[in-house]
Amino acid sequence: MKNVTALLASAPFAALAVGVTAPAHAETRGYVISWFGTATHVTDFKNSCPQNKNGGGAEWLIRDLISIGYSKAQAVKLAEGGEVAGPLREKLAKRAVVNGKNVSIYNYPDAVPDPDIETVSGKYAYGFDLGGKNEAAKFIDPDTGGKVDNQLWRAIGCTASFRAEPPAMPFPEEVSWNAMVETSPGWSMMITADDFTKDGKVTITLDRVTQHLERDAAGNIMSSASYVIDPSPKSHNVLKGELKGGVITIEPQDIYLQAEMPFYPEMALRNAHMRITVKPDGQLVGYWGGYFSRERFSYMITSRPGHGGDSIGIYHAVKKMADASPDPKTGQNEEISSTWRMEAVPAFLTTVDGKIVANAVMPAAAPAQVAAADSAN
């Protein structure tokens, strides 16, 4: 099998194109983030969620109906008969009571009793050691074998719609991400190194771009498109990192990226960690970890109810699993350790005033294209 590592491939004419600022020694490669969602680990349901009590859409609907007074039998009949619509749906949605008035559960989740959904009790989850004090709460990262903080996975990992094996995305995030891709400005990543073929120091710059991501003819995010970096400093992050054995990691740092509804409106990670590898096809895949505001997470999941996931159950689980930044008054942890999975495709990055600051580095060889007589269809 041809062994093409993109890091070893010589940059094609892209690097010689007009306008590229070709620094004396360093090379800057550009990417846009084509896929971003919760890092999932789903190979072991039996051990991760032994109670298997969360169920799917029907089950949590039944729980909700019971909580407003229906018997189990009635709730089952209604939920499975698809009769929860109109006024009944409205009633469920407004079952929180605040100051004597019925209000939306999605706006006032604290006013709804904790449905106590099952949380992950398995051993494995992707992540990083963020310095969490509770050793017992750590997972083991299946790639690195190290102990990691990922309470977010603990909270949501037994919810069916979040149990997606890559390249599939957790359903609520997938729907939101796809909507965002079509309309909202994307995120860029620039990696600068002296020599991508050797171990050494790298700089990673994260930004927002002014344009939304482009799709290609196969429905994926297009490679080697050009994007203009949004000059606003708000989403500008410069991270120090290291390339070692084909994997890039960073010195922990806070990251802030603005996004848009219906996705997470902001991706703010405190004490962010990263590990990223370059695939043979020139694309990046990796993990980001850090502390994420529990309310910010919950806002996303409760603002699009019904997109898979018992939003209220998740809200409460996240609240319980949150493991950092206690509120001085209430003691409630306001941040939760989290890990995110990221993919990126090569892109040219330019500035608003016309400079090309990063190249899209595509692999030299396209995959082989031959027929097999016995292949299906």
């Binding site: 041809k2 094609p12 344009q211 799709r215 290609d216 003819a217 490679s223 040219f348 400079k355």
Partner: protein
């Protein structure tokens, strides 16, 4: 029985038809019958139809129907249009188009602007207003003044329908729809009259000259000024003709004509069926297909019309125009600060010195267009270059060739196209023709079938050495330079220009062709000057021998 005599008659007629057209290979899988005379008229092409409606009734009339397909002959669709008939499914489509266009013209949005008069009562016919509109519109649509009986017929139809439907505008639309379906509109005719300057000889009448000229230079019907020049005889004088030609070459409408000419000559009709496998070539999106044509046409207009440059430089120029989607396809960076979600802009782009993507050969409109959907074909590209750019016919493959020698693509040795085609080059039965095409296409193998740039294929480096008419070179830059210097390049576009304008391809030794080719060279291959030369040449308004038998229209 009726059926029997029809068959016998048809068979007999077919046997009488002469067997061959002019001696050039046709490219399409055939079309129309051969004919016992020289076809002088041509069927209006889709872009000519659209341009006509836009010129006569304005750009807000939308044309959403489909047309009968065009056929290529002697390298041009406009020559294929000379023998094209209108099929029965075609007439259904033209009828639908006609009704649709007519309905828009009389609708409330358009009627006040487009119809210069108002009926006395809208619920009844009004012959005077109908006459005023239909004779004016008819003159522009039929490209000549209407005869009285034609106007009366049209007015009568408008009146009958207006009475039946109790609506003036419905009546007008019916008469207009008929005009748009009439052969007087759908065909551009060449008709003749006695030449007052040369006794016993015929000349093309004024209206025919006007149509020939305006479709050549503007891809549009004659405007009012040109029709008047036909009517008052100015078009028959050298001075008058020159005045009109100068006017037309200086007009912004020249761009339409130049675009239409090159879209025909470069084979852009193949865009209709262009597709690439999205798994292998995901950057070749549907948007790219539209933009690929525009990229090349824009480049051509900029170099040849705006900058009045040397035709040969089209193949070596580093200048072009790109959009974000095209830049992504080609793998080059582009700065496009268009706001999020707005349509893509066209941005002038200049490749660096000696960049292999200089010239229009590297555009998707060449390397991707003349290339199959799965992988590139050097043979296809070489053939396209010969036939479209150099006017050189490539023979069909022979029958009963032994392919035992050709290895399959899974063979571990054959990774690149050059290796796969090596049998074409070494086997005597194949090499005769393939040496005409393959060495050209192999020099372009850095471009995959979608137009993206690559340096290896299946892991093996690509060798791009090649040869064109005896000149050897390495890589696409060498090819474009050899093409630039090949005399067949300029000879061919001059030949095509005359063929496009007159409907006949001149023979290689035709004296007028040689003269025009020489002038073209003297004028530094300025394409606008070539157009001027052809417009004023004898070739344009030539009277064919068969015209002598015609009963001509009395004015």
């Amino acid at each position: 029985m009726k059926a029997r005599s029809n068959i016998a008659g048809a068979v007999a007629a077919a046997a009488l038809l002469s067997a061959s057209l002019a001696s050039v290979q046709t490219q399409a899988a055939s079309s129309a019958p051969t004919s016992s005379g020289e076809p002088l008229s041509w069927r209006l092409g889709p872009s000519q139809y659209r341009q006509t409606i836009a010129e006569v009734f304005g750009p807000s009339i939308s044309i959403t129907g489909r047309f009968d397909p065009e056929y290529r002959q002697d390298g041009l669709l406009t020559i294929g249009a000379r023998t094209a008939s209108i099929s029965s499914s075609g007439i259904e489509r033209y009828d639908e188009l006609a009704e649709n266009v007519a309905a828009q013209i009389v609708d409330r949005r358009h009627r006040d602007t487009l119809i210069p008069c108002k009926p006395q009562t809208p619920a009844a016919n009004d012959d005077a207003c109908a006459r005023q509109f239909l004779s004016a519109a008819g003159r522009l649509l039929y490209r000549r003044a209407l005869a009285e009986e034609e106007i009366s017929l049209s007015v009568r139809i408008a009146g009958e329908v207006a009475k039946a439907k109790q609506d003036f505008y419905t009546g007008l639309a019916a008469a207009l729809s008929n005009m748009l379906l009439s052969p007087n509109f759908l065909y551009v005719y060449k008709t003749f009259e006695p030449d007052p300057d040369e006794k016993g000889k015929l000349r093309l009448d004024g209206y025919s000259k006007a149509s020939v000229l305006s479709f050549f230079l503007w891809n549009a019907p004659p405007d009012d000024s040109l029709l008047s020049a036909a009517e008052n005889g100015e078009i028959h004088t050298q001075k008058g003709l020159k005045r009109q030609v100068d006017r037309m070459l200086a007009s912004p409408s020249l761009e339409h004509g130049v675009r239409a000419f090159f879209a025909d000559m470069l084979g852009f009709s193949e865009f209709e069926t262009l597709a690439k496998d999205p798994t292998f070539y995901p950057r070749f999106t549907p948007r790219v297909i539209d933009q690929a044509q525009e990229q090349t046409l824009r480049t051509i207009v900029d170099l040849l019309v705006v900058r009045q440059g040397d035709y040969r430089d089209l193949y070596t120029t580093p200048d072009t125009f790109l959009t974000r989607s095209l830049a992504a396809l080609y793998g080059v960076p582009i700065v496009d600060t268009t706001d999020n979600g707005q349509p893509e802009r066209w941005i002038p782009y200049k490749y660096g010195a000696d960049d292999p993507r200089a010239g229009i050969l590297s555009h998707a409109s060449f390397v991707a267009l003349h290339s199959p959907s799965g992988r590139s074909s050097p043979t296809d590209r070489g053939k396209a270059l010969r036939e479209y750019l150099l006017c050189q016919a490539v023979p069909s493959p022979p029958a009963d060739v032994s392919f035992a020698v050709v290895q399959d693509t899974n063979h571990p040795v054959h990774k690149t196209a050059r290796e796969r085609l090596s049998a074409h080059a070494t086997d005597a039965a194949c090499s005769g023709c393939h040496k005409i095409t393959d060495p050209i296409g192999l020099a372009l193998e850095n471009f995959d079938t979608a137009g993206g740039y690559r340096t290896t294929e299946n892991g093996a480096p690509i060798d791009t050495s090649g040869e064109l008419n005896g000149t050897r070179f390495d890589g696409p830059v060498g090819l474009t330079k050899a093409l630039h210097d090949d005399p067949a390049l300029t000879a061919c576009v001059a030949t095509r220009a005359i063929a496009y304008a007159s409907g006949r391809t001149p023979g290689r030794s035709d004296a007028e062709l040689k003269r025009i080719q020489a002038e073209f060279g003297k004028k530094k291959y300025n394409f606008v000057e070539l157009l001027r030369e052809v417009s004023l040449s004898d070739a344009l308004f030539k009277v064919p021998p068969s015209a002598a038998q015609l009963v001509t229209a009395a004015q």
